[in-house]
């Protein structure tokens, strides 16, 4: 089950998409999502799909691996499709039974929503599949730096995110260790009702919190000892610098947006 979650997972391979500056990818995802929901009509959707397929091919990630992530939202997809199919009010009713009715508009709407959801998941998973969490954080820090001028502590948020990334595996391992240790003292995490199980978590959660605080304390000391004093005056070992391919990508992105707008306008004026 867990290995099915492709969302948020990095797929290590070498492709032009992998090598892109994370800021480009962040911008692209954002724009893609906006276009996905702002523009309607089958032609605009077709442009979205074409763009998506174009990028997926470029990532060199097996398509089967990528759609594995869709399995998780299969239920949501089905529910969305059914809701739209049966509850959309339309003029051309094909079939009805009580409150349930199927109309041509309903079928169109159901298709649109399902495609939107699929594209949404695929689009965002391309980002996480081709970008390490670290790059993402860095892209965010640099790409959103302007936010710091209006008082958003963007460096601190990015630092917190990257520390969280570093400590997630450590704390996961620690949870397992404490769980085993309490089981060795006869603790039972597996049986009983909801309340009993919730209570059984106390011997796990208290030590885990204590340990997390201890680690945080240690880490703060270690960071201070290595001259950490916030984001001011900091340099980077691997600063993000735009390459030629990044500029090209921005142009491609611009082309895509123009195409979607054009397709949408044409569809409406038809």
């Amino acid at each position: 089950m867990l290995k099915d979650i492709t969302l948020g997972q990095y797929y290590p391979t070498d492709s032009v998409i992998h090598r892109l500056d994370p800021r480009v990818k962040l911008a692209a995802v954002l724009i893609f999502l906006i276009t996905l929901f702002a523009f309607q009509g089958p032609v605009a959707m077709g442009v979205c799909a074409a763009f998506l397929i174009f990028v997926i091919v470029l990532t060199r990630i097996p398509f089967s691996f990528m759609i594995r992530g869709l399995r998780l939202i299969l239920v949501i997809l089905i529910i969305t499709a059914l809701m739209n199919l049966f509850f959309t009010n339309g003029e051309h009713i094909l079939w009805s039974y009580g409150v349930l009715k199927i109309s041509i508009e309903g079928i169109k709407m159901a298709c649109l929503m399902v495609f939107r959801l699929i594209f949404l998941i695929l689009g965002t998973s391309i980002l996480t599949l081709t970008t390490t969490p670290n790059q993402l954080t860095e892209g965010m820090e640099k790409g959103l730096r302007w936010l710091s001028y209006i008082g958003v502590p963007i460096h601190e948020i990015a630092m917190m995110m990257s520390i969280a990334l570093r400590f997630i595996p450590i704390l996961t391992e620690e949870t397992d260790k404490i769980m085993r240790a309490q089981m060795a003292r006869g603790a039972d995490f597996e049986t009983g009702g909801l309340i009993k199980r919730a209570k059984a978590m106390i011997p796990l959660l208290v030590p885990l919190f204590v340990s997390a605080f201890r680690r945080a304390n240690d880490l703060a000391l270690a960071m201070e000892a290595r001259c950490y004093h916030g984001g001011r005056g900091r340099t980077k070992l691997k600063p993000l610098i735009y390459q030629k391919r990044d500029f090209i990508s921005y142009f491609v992105l611009l082309g895509y947006v123009t195409a979607v707008i054009a397709a949408s306008v044409w569809w409406k004026s038809r």
């Binding site: 570093r166 106390i202 680690r215 240690d218 201070e224 000892a225 001259c227």
Partner: protein, 589 residues
Amino acid sequence: MDIVTARNLVFEYIRRDDDGNVEGIEKALDDVSLDIPEGSFVGILGANGSGKSTFAKHLNALLVPGDGTLWVDGMDTNDNDLLLKIRQTAGMVFQNPDNQIIATMVEEDVAFGPENMGVPREEMEERVEKSLSAVHMKDFREASPNRLSGGQKQRVAIAGVLAMEPKCIVLDEPTAMLDPIGRREVLSAVRELNEKKGITVILITHYMEEVTKADILFVMQKGKLVMQGPPREIFSRVEELERYGLTVPQVTALSYALRKGGIRLPEGILTREELVEELLKTGRLGLGMAPSVRKREAVNRKDAPFCINFQNVEYRYQPGTEMEVVALENVNLSIREGEFVAIIGHTGSGKSTLIQLMNGLNKPTSGEVYYQGVDISSKDYDRRTLRTKVGLVFQYPEYQLFESTVFKDVCFGPKNQGLDEKSAGRRAIAALQAVKFPEEHYYDSPFELSGGQKRRVAIAGVLAMEPEVLILDEPTAGLDPKGREEILSMVAELHEKKNQTVILVSHSMEDVARYAERLIVMMDGGILYDDVPGEVFKMADELEQHGLSAPEVTYVCRALSESSGLVLPELPTTVEEAAQAILERIRPC
């Protein structure tokens, strides 16, 4: 030129109650004055709570003196403007390898210091490269810290400090959480930095063997600087050190015992070569009298029933996936009731997996584990009850404490067994008494105790279930010498008085030799040796090939018998045995 100059340093921790009233003042540093010459290798020793760590934090200006002055390379640490300069001059490495690595990639972590200092990018590349090669970690540049061993992580931490180009490195118990191989890696890296680059090293440690080659040692006790001098001089004052809760290296302890036994030896012998040479010089070693029976009597347990049996046990992590790892292979093992067995081996040799198979936390991938003749992996076996019969004390067990009082925490196990309040309480008190936990703290919060006391409470938490077998996974890790001694003698007492079956996982050959009747050496997921300690240590050369070693005194005795024909029926493995064996074979003048 002195890199560190301290004059009358005082630092107080003020404890306040909930309303902010002063409850007590603890002097962590009390009038400390010392000088550390540039380029020297300095050791700081002291029991837990002696003020060593507080002093170390002053060197890095993480703490500033309450009174007195501290100069680091001529800079007063009280001067806030010099803060970053001071931290750059005296870099610091901490005890826990995980809690000081900030980045998710080795090179990025090493660059963290220079990044903070605003070093330009090109220079940073160079610094990262140089620092990683200095600690021999260049090949791991792009690795994730989570995949490294403890020793490797500590070397990354050292590289991170080196990249700031410090004049001095302060290491606060950097080896406390490492296995012997990791310890050796870190120490040799540090020594190399000192010798080749002339960086001043200030090493705080609980392992005396690590500082025998230091230039100066400082000993602290309750915030005061109580001894200082070269190792030879400090380690010749055995009784004084003992008063401060410290020990001496094993070789020094042996020569001290021999001097007491009337052999004229110089004071403060530190290495085994030295001791052997000095003993040969006395010219009195010889075949002497016929060796008397001296060996600890081997306990005969042939008639005791088996409690744990392993038959062709194999254990794999995540079987059937790409990440499959074979942790144990073809393990056959029987342990009888009442035995005191020690298990030794490197991190990753399969020790932890082995002991978790014994109490049913792990199920064998193939093969069978029997407890008192019953297969514990069979479907209807009650593994929860088994865990109360085979009590397992994990490594750093104090991290599992969670209750509001010591007493309640110890009651957790017995209550899980289904005992009522009263009998659980009775068990808890008996267990706390067995670990010699002071009665006046029974109802204190376990989180406010010292490290050694917390560990006792955690061990009591397992003892209170009255297990038939007691397994301890490195119960002395991270403790100071006195704490180590106390925990081990407590376990030995349980074994002797109550005939408790004990399985002790340890990294220390010296401890194992003193207490265990039987020694199992694990290597790469299998059992390498399984015999009485004396027999295993005869394989000293083979052990060394696997990165392990025999106790120091064993080497001394072996060298003596090789170069003087001293007849030893069996190689001694403890200081007492060695002293007795040598003294018996000394010709009277």
